[in-house]
């Protein structure tokens, strides 16, 4: 059992996948000698060779499009896009082929591939390096979208994503990359995709989140219990498509209150879908309006002010206390 950062845990998962299955290959910009700009693929090229850990030309659409073609011909590519802000260059191939080819061919072709990319704010980065656009992937039929929140689940979920026969967008919260260490088991571990992690039980309010926002939610939950005597039930979605809202609904039926926290834009964001499903399936149990604490509907702010635009524990505490004022 080793104490790893998320970057190290992801590297471990990729290393294991490359060792176990010769169909697995990695591709992306600067992932080889350089080990990726965040070092997630560090030392893997020297271990597995240039054909399995490929430094590609600087062309996101080309990376994803060729990865699709490799998957169709029996390989299991894991393509890295350097920052999620650049994934839209690849949207053509994601939408036309990655997400659809299995359907278009009536199941004849599998697109068993993963697109890994770091997302989210909080690391004082330049424009287009801090976006949270997971709603695009949730909105695109044919994709699955996984968002880990810590080293251990990052490793286990990436393994599952690589093993998955459907195309997976693996969205890595880069604010968590080196934020803390966690014990990651030495033996292989793979979590089921599409299953949320209910990481704190409580009777008063359901908090739903994922990715880097799990940390402020934990912080708020501790504070609410210690300072205000409020028991929150906290859910880390882990997979946003398909979304395990059964776990959310079950919790809301118990608590009657639901607050969703994410970095991505509010309008038509993941929180909007959760709120809609809660309204459809737990309406009679609600005692307070469903609330969303999210990023605003603006381009992610330049980094001198980004700390003010990201949801934080105090927002959550305030929203929970407000929800508790309804009876």
């Amino acid at each position: 059992m080793a104490q790893l950062t998320m970057v190290e845990a992801l590297n471990k998962a990729l290393d294991e996948a490359l060792a176990e299955d010769d169909r697995v290959c990695l591709m992306g910009q600067d992932i080889g000698v350089n080990g990726g700009v965040f070092r997630v693929t560090k030392d893997l090229q020297s271990k597995y060779g240039m054909d399995r850990v490929m430094d590609t030309p600087l062309a996101e659409c080309g990376i994803i499009g060729t990865a699709v073609g490799m998957a169709v011909h029996g390989m299991r590519p894991v393509a890295e896009i350097q920052f999620s802000g650049f994934t839209l260059q690849a949207m053509d191939q994601i939408e036309q082929n990655m997400a659809r080819l299995h359907n278009r061919t009536q199941g004849r072709f599998n697109v068993s591939m993963v697109m890994r990319t770091p997302f989210g704010g909080g690391i004082r980065a330049v424009e287009h390096h801090s976006e949270s656009r997971e709603a695009y992937w949730v909105h695109t039929p044919g994709l699955k979208c996984v968002i880990p929140s810590g080293p251990r689940n990052a490793r286990a979920l990436l393994k599952a994503a690589i093993e998955c026969d459907d195309p997976v967008i693996f969205y890595e919260p880069k604010a968590v990359y080196r934020a803390f260490r966690e014990e990651v088991p030495d033996e292989p571990e793979s979590f089921e995709l599409g299953k949320a992690d209910l990481f704190r039980t409580g009777a008063d309010v359901t908090l739903v989140t994922y990715g880097a926002m799990v940390r402020p939610v934990r912080e708020a939950a501790d504070d609410l219990a210690d300072e205000h005597g409020i028991d929150t039930e906290c859910i880390d979605l882990l997979t946003v498509s398909p979304m395990d809202t059964d776990t959310v609904i079950e919790s809301v039926r118990k608590t009657g209150r639901c607050i969703i926290v994410h970095e991505g834009h509010r309008t038509c964001g993941v929180g909007a879908e959760i709120a809609a499903r809660v309204t459809e399936d737990a309406f009679e149990h609600l005692v307070a309006p469903v609330r969303r604490i999210t990023g605003y509907d603006i381009p992610f702010p330049y980094f001198q002010v980004e700390q003010h635009a990201l949801p934080e524990a105090d927002d959550i505490i305030e929203a929970v206390r407000d929800a508790m004022s309804w009876d």
Binding site: C25, D51, R52, M54, T56, P57, A59, C61, G62, I64, G65, T66, A67, V68, G69, M70, A71, V72, H73, G74, M75, P77, D92, Q93, Q96, N97, L101, H102, N103, R104, T105, Q106, G107, R108, F109, N110, P141, G142, K144, C164, D165, D166, G194, S241, P242, M243, D246
Partner: protein
Amino acid sequence: MSSEPHTTSDQQASDPPDGAPSGKSGNEATPPPTTGAFNTRAIDPGRIECLQILNEHGRVEQGMAPNFTSEQLLEVHRAMVLSRAFDSRMLTMQRQGEMGTFAPSIGQEACMIGQVWPLTKDDWFAPSYRSFGAQIWRGWSMERLMKLWAGYHEGFAPPPDVNDYPFSIVIGAQVPPAVGTAMAMRRRNEPNCVVVNFGDGAFSQGAVAESLNFAAVDRAPVIFVCENNGWAISTPMTKQTRVDSLAIRGMGYGVPSIRVDGNDILAMMVAVRDAADRACRGEGPTLIEAVTFRMSLHTTADDPTVYRDEAEVAPWEGRCPIKRFEIWLANQGLLDADGCERVKAQCEAEVLAARDAFRESAEAKPREIFDYLYVDTPEVLERQKVEYFKRLDRKGVE
């Protein structure tokens, strides 16, 4: 017949098609033409030679006859005739309301068949939507292709034993996966190649440019066949590009490139065979610009009289790829006029049989629309499916 296949370097083109780059070259201060498909003004790096073996009068330049067997030649001829018969029947069926929108390919038969004829079952083909002649050659039944154009999902599914992509509706989107498949072949040490077809319009797409670069860098065994028919719906080559040959783009990526008379089946066969041989030997990609002409409509939803002078079409009738091939086959003593008529009648009968089979077997399957999206279908879709089935039940739809 010469014993060696002809390739770019030692090839002297005879008459390039009108509208293809003429002898005029250099930096003449002539403004670009505002109508017509092709630039006639060479910019730089000068004139691109165009490989032609069989000229439009059905004559082969002395010493240039390739060494194909009569079986190969007759098989290719039949495929071209079948493609045209299919095209013509599809147009009729569309006009009679039996087909959806359909993209005719009359006049492009040499490109279609030439690009796939040397491929084996283990090679791959990624078509554009104006490639059905090639798809038939590759083993897609005409019945299946009719289903495709008539709006039945199963028409898009490649037959079980055919290694082809279904075509892509988004222009050029088929190209990056085709290159990826070739990259996988190289990594798996397979002695095979991929042919990917796209048009002059697609060559303006970023995805195509990125694909050429990926293929070059990876030395992927892929053959890019740019079927340049002069028009992308209403946009002529003159508005699509400021270069007069799309083949020069390949050179910029380090991809060996050749311009071929796309109405000359012998030139197409030679160029594609050589490119396939190179690819399978591990020598990387090739770009073939096949110069042809869109004789007919973009699709059945299109009216070219709105945007192009039909006088531009007439000269291309004289360059018909089938007619010139038949003249040559007759001169070679391989197929006389009666033989041509026989082939045509057989092909038409085959198309009619396919139409009957299509009418017999085409079946809309509304209860399958959720079935192919995922290998592992999410619960949320299963629930939507239940909801949808209730609607079908209410409407009395099986």
